[in-house]
């Protein structure tokens, strides 16, 4: 097994059995993760290839290029798999979170503003799974995902990156 090279994009193997780089998740595991945790249909990713650049940082690219690719960006960073639990990125949730049926917490206007500002808040009304949730709010007549929150012990901890935080 090779080690992951953080300077280049390597395509994820189709399954665990095809793995050539140590610790790299398979495409099947990534697609299953979105389905199992959030209910995002596996067909969502039919046109996508998945890539790793930097240990545990996974990217989704709508198309394909030769692997490895020594370039600066390839599609969108969608997942971090380095920690105990896989963590979706804000951008992935904004783009694909609208397809989710599970682990979506709806915020009212004040809660949504606090979440965007990066503040943690007590939200004991949630009685679903703990862990990384998709935080959403109503905008222009429909629910629209804002980002990822970590839900633990009745509290929703905003994971909105500092550069995306705002006081509206």
């Amino acid at each position: 097994m090779r080690e992951n090279d953080g300077q280049q994009f390597g395509r994820l193997p189709a399954t665990d059995d095809d793995r050539e780089v140590e610790g790299r998740p398979s495409r099947a595991a990534v697609v299953d993760f979105w389905q199992d945790r959030y209910g995002i249909p596996t067909a969502t990713w039919d046109d996508y290839t998945f890539w790793e650049r930097g240990a545990g940082k996974l990217w989704a690219f709508r198309g394909d290029v030769p692997s490895p690719a020594r370039i600066q960006g390839l599609g969108m960073a969608v997942l971090r798999t380095g920690g105990e639990h896989w963590k979706p990125t804000t951008n992935a949730v904004q783009r694909f979170g609208g397809l989710a049926t599970d682990c979506v917490i709806e915020l009212n206007d004040a809660e949504a503003r606090a979440f965007l500002a990066g503040r943690d808040q007590e939200l004991p009304r949630w009685n679903g799974d703990w862990g990384y949730l998709i935080a959403s709010h109503e905008l222009a007549g429909e629910s629209e995902p804002i980002g990822v929150g970590l839900y633990l012990h009745g509290e929703l901890r905003s994971q909105v990156p500092k550069g995306r935080q705002r006081e509206l």
């Binding site: 690219f61 198309g63 290029v65 960006g73 904004q94 965007l116 222009a140 509206l168």
Partner: protein, 303 residues
């Protein structure tokens, strides 16, 4: 030169109106990012945010807004809006890519053209966004990700030496060559845009522009489209650069429609004469549509 814009008095039919427009601030315009929202939904979100808006008229996705901070609204946070100069939407519109195309954006940062091209492609196909500067690439990547692009590959190289190797050596269907320039046309947004102006700088940057346009033509397939644009009035960076490409490569300038008031490209300047087809290029002056200044030419690579 104390007054670089005075050079253009002989080629303008309403020089006073041109100078007066250059003194006025520019209206704030946003483009609706159709990868993430429809125009109708973005308009509704602006209304909910208390922001007044008005379509610019020639393009449904461009809205003039009555705030100078559109970034502090929910629709911006969700990547539904991209703040840009109205005329900077011209090259992607003229390029007119289809979903599934392979498209090249050699001078991509900070990303208004890239994100617009991706939206016109419905985020389908390959969009290669290149820039030479790491700091500007970081802005490009964050704009692309906020706008939800997933079909974009970002490269860092001098566009004059761009390599197709990461993309299997296969060329592009279209390119938008929006080159670094002397930026005379941004004077309404940056009143100090001309402080460092010199003819030496114009001539120097024109040499780089020729190299970038040449490389873009080389990596575009026969029959493909290359759009060349700048935000400057200087003919040395506009018609002269395209004239050079016409002489060096098997390409031709083609007519195109643009629902804005424009003037034809020049066929002579300062004792030089250019290929007669340069009248198919378009010049946009600030007083014609109450915008920034712009130049845009559409080339087709011989099949």
């Amino acid at each position: 030169m104390d007054d670089p814009l005075a050079r253009y008095e002989p080629i303008l039919d309403d020089y006073e109106a041109f100078r007066a427009a250059c003194e006025r601030p520019l209206p704030q315009v946003v483009r609706v990012n159709t990868i993430k929202a429809t125009v109708v939904r973005a308009e509704r979100a602006l209304k909910e945010a208390g922001v007044g808006y008005e379509p610019v008229g020639w393009n449904d996705e461009l809205l003039a807004v009555d705030t100078d901070k559109p970034g502090n609204t929910w629709p911006y946070v969700h990547g539904w809006l991209y703040g840009q100069e109205e005329v900077s939407a011209v090259p992607a519109v003229v390029c007119d890519p289809d979903p599934g195309d392979r498209v090249f954006d050699p001078c991509a940062a900070p990303g208004s053209k890239t994100t617009h091209l991706a939206a016109l492609m419905d985020d389908e196909g390959l969009l290669v966004a290149n820039d030479s500067n790491l700091g500007r690439l970081s802005a490009l990547r964050s704009n692309a990700e906020r706008c939800g692009l997933t079909n974009v590959a970002v490269t860092k190289s001098d566009a004059r030496n761009f390599s197709l190797a990461p993309f299997g050596g296969e060329g592009f269907d279209r390119a938008v060559v929006d080159v670094p320039c002397s930026c005379e046309g941004t004077i309404r947004k940056n009143p100090d845009a001309l402080d460092e102006w010199s003819l030496d700088h114009v001539d120097g940057v024109a040499g780089i522009q020729k190299g970038i346009l040449s490389r873009a033509i080389e990596v575009t397939r026969p029959g493909g489209t290359v759009v060349y644009s700048t935000c400057t009035f200087a003919p040395e960076e506009n018609e002269a650069v395209v004239d050079h490409a016409l002489a060096e490569h098997d390409v031709e300038l083609v007519e195109y429609d643009l629902p804005l008031s424009t003037r034809a490209g020049l066929t002579s300047w300062d004792g030089e004469t250019y290929n007669a087809s340069l009248n198919r290029a378009k010049r946009i002056y600030p007083h014609l549509n109450d915008t920034g200044g712009f130049f845009c030419a559409k080339l087709e690579v011989a099949a």
